[in-house]
Amino acid sequence: MHKDRIAEWILGLVTTPERAASTVGDLTESAAHHGGLWFWSHVLRTAGAMMWQTFIANPGTFLKVGFLGSLRAYILANLAQLAAVFGFMIIAGVGHAIFGPPGPLRWPNIIRGWVLWLYYLAIFAAPVLAMHRAGQWAARKVPGAEVTAGLVVLAALLVFGTAASFAIVALDRHGLQETGSLRQIWFPWLSQPTSPGWPQCSPEPFPCE
């Protein structure tokens, strides 16, 4: 792809196709005296300036979309992760009942090998899919300023996600250690068993006594 086409595509994300084309034409004409670095630097700076202009023209709408979009992404991501955890618990239980050795079900022993990697994939894909859905929702709310809306949602997610992480760490430290930490809930095989009901297994490679 020619560099002008790429530049036009980048600017086309934040302005109309006609304006993007004429702006790239101007920058191409000026770049004859300044060089390629100047061209790309000003393509990106112009795109940034156009996005900022879009944002400050209607900050209330974008902040609302950012807040609601990030909340939506956060809730969706947690629901998806919970679904993944419970889904794998059910799969593990059924798998153990059919193929496993006789005796009680030992959760940490069930998920291992490629199933473990599938579990990790599901756990980490869930937030990505949730962010994608939230981005689609935000883009529909602000037609013509989709990229700006997406970036505002991403920034809000960063802020709220960091705040939520601090809150969870504080909660984990002060409230949940007695009954089993959040780490034990999400990644039970990584935690040293502490509670009386927990199977007494060593962490590597999960053999039970």
């Binding site: 002008d4 302005t15 006609e18 304006r19 084309a21 004429s22 702006t23 790239v24 034409g25 101007d26 920058l27 191409t28 004409e29 000026s30 004859a32 000003h42 700076r45 112009t46 795109a47 940034g48 300036a49 156009m50 900022w52 202009q53």
Partner: protein, 112 residues
Amino acid sequence: MQQQVPALGEFEQIVLLAILRLGENAYGVTIREEIQARTDREPAPGALYTTLDRLEEKGLVSSHLGDPTPERGGRAKRFFEVTAIGVEAVSRAQRSFQRLLKGLKLPGVANA
């Protein structure tokens, strides 16, 4: 009903005056060069294009696309012209400056 003339920022006035000076040849590159030549300031393209978009939204300038040219990769120039309300807005801003300057003695400023 007469359209209200919006207030202008400093850079908006500079851009409007540059377009008026250039006449029919006012597009992104020449506007930047004119501003640079007359004010010794080199405006960033991003600042110029967002200002031009804002002025167009306010109805102070209008634009039309010219013919594609090879040195621009076959892309058309977007020519700008100041509308009647744009002329009124920049005239009003300049009259305000003149009234403020009147009677002042500033070094290097004529008619102070």
